[in-house]
Symmetry: C2
């Protein structure tokens, strides 16, 4: 595809031209060094026009009703006159081609709305690379004037943390399971959630969902005293509880805006992204070094089998990679 | 202090000579490159004699009764004919001189036992450096024939994770607080704990401790279904519940030994230590680079204020540090 000029990208994105926005995202996602340099130029020009959206992370295991929920929430927001972008982070998509689909059938109503924009997960790269692409796509969507950006994840691997590091607010969807158990609690998720919603709270399931909610509240009271996230129920299928949920969410985010903590959080996130990319880059350079690559399997075996200390092995790796750094 | 020969260190540690063990630990803790090289030689020679202990992490905020607990547990183990080493990781000790004291008054009974060895936290260095010193001290203690190594932490900062990464089993002490609340739950601690003990379960406090235990069990059932840690109560002051706790702990560790998961975990930990030291070394070299050091404050400000993208800033850091790595 022939590339546009920087000006054409910038103007197209700013005027919310959907085809230019899509091409700008494709540029950001490209692995080609020349595309990457161009993407950084475009993004730098657009930076002054970013920051205007509510950045909301939405997590939930498959089966929790995430697509239906986002469809319902998105339609509610569009109905309020907002423009909504939906992005996704799905680390499994690199291998499988994606369990978060980007197709039109998944969010049937929202995908037909001109005020909505749905983009599937970048489908190649490391988790760090996928995160970088999604963060930059988020900035593009903000520059294009979207009021709300929903970043969804299936919660595979470290993706919760990655999403938590790029959003203002983290919503986790759950189900009340058979018995009194909750389904879809992944390790670490209760620590980062700003709000938990028990979905499918409808019909026969309603009493179970209410019970699950009070148990979850008690658990969070123990785990995060003084910092308990809101726990609510909803039925995305029936559209129940969605408006109330968004109202509660807005109230929370509003407090953070007023207190200045949201701005602080975003600034800290940006500096954090820079350092995580430095770290990724160092790691990549280390493993691309042929001396190191030859040494690593030998050293790992020695350390694993107790023939070398981890410290001596680490020093040998560092000395091969940074020969000038030691006297 | 004049250094011993490698042979003298190795022989002294293996024959459990306390003064040589103390000198070997001091050597491991030294920041001097010559001492570090000598320490690695000694450790490499001792590696075949390591691995024979139960490595137990013990965490709890100040006030939970940690010293009294370790004193009581240590005495119980010594009474069973075991040799016990107590190490500590206290990242705050670098600044404050230490909130985990190494003096004889803290574990009054245990410190008088010849079958026990108590070593305070290394009091200088980064958390990574402190962790390295404690891991290597643990190996020295194993080579000296200690059957149980207790690694305690006050749970400041990331120290739980660091301790979890060097032990076989992680015990967390807690208190039942006023009302029904639990005190001393730190972010992330419920995720890594293998066992939780509510201490000071004595006198008037007993019903509260029992209630806290059942609530904690319910919470953990939600958080870690199928992988719930044991929750127990004890009174270190009165010596109640200590023997039972150790029995339960041994049973758990015994299962891991029998299934081979303990050995797997240790091997993975060793390789993990190697890589975390490589990462620490890379970070140190990066920040020691004068070009990078001059650039970082400028770039961080640009990124924080939204004038540069995190990606472009990261590339500039990497290009200054690894000029040859890019075409």
């Amino acid at each position: 595809m022939k590339q546009l000029t920087v000006d054409a990208y910038v103007d197209g994105v700013r005027s919310a031209d959907r085809s230019v926005l899509a091409r700008a995202i494709t540029l950001v996602e490209s692995g080609h060094p020349r595309h990457q340099a161009l993407a950084q130029e475009v993004l730098t020009r657009l930076l002054p026009f970013t920051g205007g959206s509510r950045r909301i992370g939405i997590s939930g295991v498959p089966g929790v009703g995430k697509s239906t929920f986002i469809d319902a929430l998105g339609m509610h927001l569009v109905g309020e006159g907002r423009r909504v972008a939906v992005l996704a982070i799905d680390p499994s998509s690199t291998i499988s081609g994606g369990s978060i689909l980007g197709d039109k059938t998944r969010m049937a109503r929202l995908s037909r709305e001109t005020a909505a924009y749905i983009r599937p997960s970048p489908s190649s790269g490391t988790l760090g690379g996928v995160a970088r692409k999604t963060r930059e796509t988020l900035l593009l969507c903000e520059a294009a004037g979207f009021d709300v950006v929903l970043v969804e994840t299936v919660g595979v691997g470290q993706s919760e943390t990655v999403v938590a590091d790029m959003v203002d607010f983290y919503l986790v969807l759950m189900l009340a399971g058979a018995g009194d158990e909750l389904q879809g609690i992944k390790r670490g998720i209760l620590e980062v959630a700003d709000m938990l919603a028990i979905n499918k709270a409808d019909g026969d399931n309603l009493p179970r969902a209410e019970r699950a909610r009070s148990e979850l509240r008690a658990a969070l009271h123990l785990m995060r005293p003084g910092n308990e996230p809101v726990v609510t129920t909803c039925s995305a299928l029936e559209g129940q509880g969605i408006a109330k949920l968004w109202e509660a969410l807005e109230a929370q985010v509003g407090k953070r805006v007023a207190s200045g903590t949201l701005e602080q959080r975003r600034r800290a996130q940006q500096v954090g992204w820079m350092w995580s990319m430095v770290q990724d880059g160092l790691r990549a350079a280390l493993h691309a070094n042929p001396t190191v690559a030859a040494l690593v399997p030998v050293l790992e075996a020695e350390v694993r089998e107790g023939r070398a200390t981890p410290t001596s092995a680490a020093l040998r790796v560092l000395e091969s990679f940074l020969p000038t750094s030691r006297a």
